[in-house]
């Protein structure tokens, strides 16, 4: 096992369980990547801190067999040589490296040097040569209320020959903003990295922070955080299932699932005082506690939503038109998914059996085994099926979580972390594993914070999933991925 070499050399990192850190040199940087690729691991995140002038660190996180491996490559000050790019082994690395360059000026050896986050000049899209090829340019302003992103299709008639996405339209300078906030307030910003994953990001931030501050949280807080996370997952899945029905022209599905989602949101609001769970997860625990009455009401609401969802599943499954639209559309073969390192829900629909709740469980998932849902078909129907089954799994977990909720406090006081302490938070959000890397600065400031959304890996996969499909199926395929724009625009 070549991976064991690195794993043994690595030292545990504060924060998420099962993450280890190793510092490497330039040559080793590539060797780790090759070893990870050879053992079927994937690149989860890549970022750079620092600048070429004052010296920079390149970080890579791999999800691999024994656990998550954080690899650090230190570049000395004034070293203008590009660091070795990983794009050959992990296609998703290309955009991460380009984004890192745009933010820090540290360049990789990637031959693709188009700016990713900086929109100063027109973006040169890859041109498909040949008679009769034409392009369809969609976005950044779309017909629906969705986030901005540009899609460039190269097509002949309806047939898609190539899709290239261009994002970065809502770059907010998050990483810099983190450094301007007190470290104990950063969770509020983390929750807003990608609004639909508020709990996942704020939990990941808090997990990192609690790790590097050396604090622990009360068990009740951990259980309630899991309740929040699963509620977020449930609400998003229900919403997606409705939207997917709508994109297949089945408006009945949209209205029914919208109602189910609304039921869940109202129950959430009754329990936590918020429809969407922003700022509930705070460093040290939870901002609000849940009374036993509202916990019971919440459980009831979830049970009925889950039962109705199961009924609607038969409607979707037995509807000829819906089925025809879902089956075989936007197929992402498991082999390709492995090659692209696709994460989360989309990956699980294409045979990628990764779920951080199972692989790297934190409390309460250590006590409450989650069953992984994996399908191999990789089409829209599979992504729908994974959602349906996860809805059921969510409901099962929530019922147990709420039933066995430990008593006691739900918040603890956290001490200010030491300067330079480093922590990683890794939480399986509804979309996939969400990572926050956090380094404390002096006097309760943030030296560095990098939030990472699994959409980074999945956007390129979308470009492959559409190939050979027809143009009008794109919205459906896109919705079945439902990736975050703001999460990758940073």
């Amino acid at each position: 096992m070549p991976m064991m070499r690195w794993w043994q050399r690595a030292r545990p990192v504060a924060g998420a369980p099962g993450v280890r850190r190793v510092s490497v040199g330039r040559e080793e940087w590539m060797q780790v990547a090759r070893d990870v690729a050879a053992t079927g691991g994937v690149l989860h995140a890549l970022w750079v801190s620092g600048t070429p002038a004052e010296g920079a660190q390149v970080y890579g996180v791999y999800l691999s067999d024994p656990g998550a491996l954080l690899v650090e490559l230190a570049l000395s000050a004034g070293d203008a040589r590009p660091y070795p790019g990983l794009q050959e082994l992990f296609p998703a690395a290309s955009r991460l490296q380009r984004a890192a360059f745009d933010l820090t000026g540290v360049r990789s050896s990637d031959p693709d040097r188009r700016a990713w986050l900086v929109h100063a000049e027109p973006y040169p899209f890859t041109r498909v040569e040949g008679e009769g090829v034409h392009e369809i340019a969609v976005g950044p302003v779309h017909a629906g209320t969705i986030e901005p992103g540009h899609f460039r299709f190269s097509v002949v008639g309806e047939k898609v020959l190539r899709l290239e996405t261009h994002l970065g339209y809502v770059h907010r300078g998050l990483e810099q903003r983190f450094t301007e906030l007190p470290i104990l307030a950063g969770h509020r910003l983390a929750a807003r990295v990608s609004g639909d994953s508020a709990v996942a990001f704020s939990w990941a931030y808090c997990q990192a922070l609690e790790g590097l501050a050396g604090g622990t949280i009360p068990p009740r807080a951990a259980w309630l955080r899991a309740v929040c996370l699963e509620l977020e997952r449930l609400a998003n899945h229900l919403g997606d299932l409705g939207a997917l029905g709508n994109d297949a022209g089945f408006a009945f599905g949209l209205t029914q699932f919208s109602r189910l989602k609304e039921d869940v949101l109202r129950a959430t609001a009754a329990a936590f005082g918020r429809r969407y769970l922003f700022d509930v997860v705070v460093p040290g625990g939870l901002a609000v506690d849940v009374s036993s009455d509202s916990a019971r009401a919440l459980a009831d609401a979830i049970r009925s939503a889950c039962a109705e969802s199961a009924e609607l599943r038969t409607v979707y499954d037995e509807h000829e038109g819906v089925r025809a639209r879902f089956t075989g559309t936007g197929r992402l073969e498991p082999q390709l998914a492995t090659q692209l390192g696709v994460l989360g829900l989309v990956g699980r629909a294409s045979g990628q059996a990764r779920d951080a709740r199972v692989d790297l469980p934190c409390l309460p998932y250590t006590k409450l085994p989650v069953s992984r849902i994996v399908l191999r078909e990789g089409d829209v129907a599979a992504r729908v099926a994974v959602r349906f089954e996860e809805v059921q799994e969510c409901a099962r977990l929530l019922a147990q979580l709420l039933e066995k909720l430990p008593d006691g406090e739900c918040s603890a006081v956290l001490e200010e972390p030491a300067d330079g302490a480093f922590g990683i938070g890794l939480i399986e959000g509804w979309r996939g594993p969400v990572l926050v890397a956090l380094q404390a600065g002096p006097a309760g400031t943030v030296r560095f914070c990098h939030p990472h959304d699994p959409s980074w890996q999945n956007w390129p996969a979308l470009e492959y999933a559409i190939l050979g499909n027809i143009v009008p199926d794109f919205p459906l395929i896109n919705k079945s991925f439902n990736l975050s724009y703001s999460g990758v625009d940073l």
Partner: protein, 677 residues
């Protein structure tokens, strides 16, 4: 109205003489060009307009003859000993002469402005070929014996061949010419054999052929031979292969002439043989052209939809229209042979009407592409676009042809489509089981073809004239000259007139149906301004009323909207999704329009495709579409002929004495045969 079913033969053939004189006049105009062969001014400003005038005169003369309804005959002492040239002018010839004259007139006017000094044939020589081509087509239409008919037929093929290879320095044009010449001769051979069968034992005059009584078998053989011969000239699938090669290769006025007029001489020949010379037709003969015609409609329309060269697209559209015409011929024969003369007359009228329509609209479209070609130097649809801003005259006049050929009311294409469908609706009354079942189903193909034509025409017009120019060079395109405009306008006017005055046109065409199937149809309803040609059925169509009503409603709407909602109009840039850099590349292309058709009708096409690999940093796409017929029929045929030729080559020894021996043996065998019989 009194219609002469058996027209009287007038003693003095005034009109026929005039006709011959006009044809000779075309010849003379052509020869005059040789005086100063390199002069563009002489050919363009004098000779072609003169030729146009002769065309108009010929059309006028033919219409006079048609309205008179008489038959004129004449024998000219030229030709073989014992077989002088017999000429005849009857309603059928008159209709096609009118078509020739009127169409050629418009085309010649356009040609006057079109031909410039170039790399190809000198203008004077071109003028000679062009006018001889016209004259030979005219001669085909008045010839009344097999000899002069075939002579004129071959002259027509040869002159048009030379016209096709005007730009003979390009290899693909020479190849197109060769295929054309080859098919023309195979066709001519079939026609020759048909005449051979038909003449029985009498002389080779048409008059004798009418009188000859052939046995059923021989008559059928003659019919099928004629169908093969004329079908090859007309472009009936599977004998159409020369057409999409030759029409685009020729200069545009010649393409217009070939598509608009020359194909119709084949139709004329078919009608002449099937309905006139062979006597009363047998109903089942009609099934052959009917089936082939229906297949041709679908085939032509599908291939037109996937073309990327604008002239090839039009060529395939011609194939489709020939399908419509042959469908009409087939129906006419089936009805005429089944004792339904009135319905046969309706089908015949649809056929003739479509001939006239197609001559007008296809010539208009070909000339339109000619103007575009001249202005831009581009035939590939992938490099055109937005020309309506640069060439408004061509664009708007071509729009009329586009709408007409798409079969939209109130233009002319719709009238013949309508007549054909009306005659199809009698198909279930044919007294033969199965045939009465299958004929109405043929209607489905006609309708599908018409709708596909609409698809093709939106592609044709939209990609050439609308949108943004796909190449920067198109910004400098200029509109055509005034002579060309008159030519285009004349043909567009023809489309309008044929569309709006069907009552009058049907009235005139009634002479032909009286001559060929012995029946006429009523033309107008009781009011007199509605076309109501369907025997015994209360159906009518009034294009003029329809147009007037539409214009009235549109004007009223404009008035009301302008009066009550006079909000101002502001010009802004087109919606770009906020991206801000719309390029001409973001418009559907000809291939894009072809893609759904290719996808839906896959079995028809032989495709070679090269798709870009996912993740390729320099992706490429390529597609080549061929007709399966080449691999299925023509290539094996060529291989077989090659093989046979190789066997025959063994006979070749190169020594004179051996050849003399062959001759001697042949002579002996022939003598022996003569002796024994």
């Amino acid at each position: 109205m009194h219609i002469l079913v058996h027209p009287v033969i007038t003693p003095l053939p005034k009109l026929l003489v005039g006709c011959v004189a006009l044809l000779l006049g075309w010849g003379a105009v052509g020869v005059a060009g040789l005086l100063r062969p390199r002069s563009v001014r002489l050919a363009g400003r004098v000779l072609f307009p003169l030729g146009a005038l002769i065309g108009f005169a010929l059309a006028a003369l033919a219409v006079t003859s048609l309205l008179g309804g008489g038959i004129e005959r004449m024998v000219l002492p030229i030709g073989l000993p014992g077989l002088p040239a017999h000429l005849r002018l009857d309603p059928l010839s008159s209709v096609f002469l009118a078509l020739l004259g009127a169409t050629a007139g418009g085309i010649s006017l356009f040609a006057g402005g079109y031909f410039r000094a170039g790399q190809g044939t000198a203008p004077g020589l071109l003028g000679l070929q062009y006018h001889l081509f016209l004259a030979s087509m005219g001669w085909v239409l008045i010839a009344a014996d097999a000899y002069s008919f075939l002579l004129a037929w071959e002259a027509m093929a040869l002159t048009s061949y030379f016209l096709v290879v005007t730009e003979h320095r390009r290899a693909e044009i020479r190849r197109a010419g060769l295929i054309y010449l080859l098919m023309a001769h195979v066709g001519a051979l079939a026609i020759l054999l048909a005449f051979g069968v038909m003449h029985g034992s009498g002389p080779f005059t048409f008059h004798a052929m009418r009188a000859a009584h052939l046995s059923a078998g021989w008559a059928a053989a003659a019919f099928l031979l004629a169908l093969a011969g004329f079908g090859a000239k007309a472009g009936l699938v599977p004998l159409h292969v020369w057409l999409p090669e030759a029409h685009p290769a020729a200069p545009s006025p010649v393409s217009a002439l070939m598509s608009g007029v020359m194909l119709k001489t084949a139709v004329y020949g078919m009608l002449r043989v099937a309905l006139d010379l062979l006597g009363p037709p047998v109903w089942w003969w009609g099934l052959v052209p009917l089936a082939l015609g229906l297949f041709t409609i679908l085939y032509g329309a599908l291939f037109a939809a996937v073309q990327t060269d604008m002239k090839r697209l039009l060529a395939y559209s011609s194939v489709e229209n020939i399908g419509v015409i042959f469908t009409g011929i087939g129906l006419t024969i089936v009805f005429a042979g089944s004792g339904m003369p009135a319905v046969a007359a309706l089908a015949l009228l649809a056929t003739l009407y479509h001939c006239l329509n197609h001559a007008m609209m296809k010539s208009l479209l070909f000339l339109g592409t000619g103007a575009v070609l001249h202005a831009t130097g581009e035939r590939n649809l992938g490099r055109l676009g937005g020309l309506i801003h640069r060439m408004p005259w061509v664009a708007w006049l071509t729009l009329i042809g586009t709408l007409a050929i798409a079969g939209l009311p109130p233009l002319n294409g719709f009238v013949s489509e309508w007549l054909l469908l009306q005659s199809f609706l009698f198909g279930d009354q044919v007294p033969h089981t199965f045939v009465n079942l299958l004929i109405p189903m043929g209607m489905a193909v006609v309708v599908l073809g018409a709708a596909l034509a609409g698809y093709v025409m939106v592609k044709f017009y939209g990609v050439i004239f609308l949108g943004r120019p796909r190449e920067a060079a198109l910004e400098h395109a200029h509109d055509c000259g005034w002579l060309e405009r008159i030519g285009l306008a004349w043909l567009a006017l023809g489309c309008l007139a044929l569309g709006l005055l069907p009552v009058q046109v049907i009235g005139a065409l009634g002479r032909v149906s009286a001559q060929l199937v012995g029946a006429v149809v009523p033309q107008a309803s009781a009011h007199g301004w509605l076309l109501a040609p369907v025997p015994g059925r209360p159906v009518s169509y009034g294009p003029a009323v329809l147009l007037t009503a539409t214009v009235a409603v549109v004007l009223l709407t404009v008035l009301v909207v302008r009066l009550f909602f006079p909000q101002r109009v502001r010009r802004v840039s087109a919606w770009d999704c906020g991206f801000g850099a719309l390029t001409p590349r973001m418009q559907d292309t000809a291939e894009g329009f072809g893609q759904p058709i290719r996808h839906l009708f896959q079995p028809f096409f032989e495709m070679q495709r090269e798709l870009p690999a996912p993740g390729d940093s320099a992706p490429r796409y390529r597609i080549a579409i061929r007709e399966r017929i080449w691999t299925l029929a023509y290539e094996p045929l060529c291989a077989a002929i090659d093989g046979l030729a190789n066997i025959a080559a063994r006979v070749q020894q190169g020594r004179i004495s051996v050849y003399l021996l062959y001759s001697f043996v042949t002579l002996l065998v022939l003598l022996a045969v003569a002796l024994l019989s």
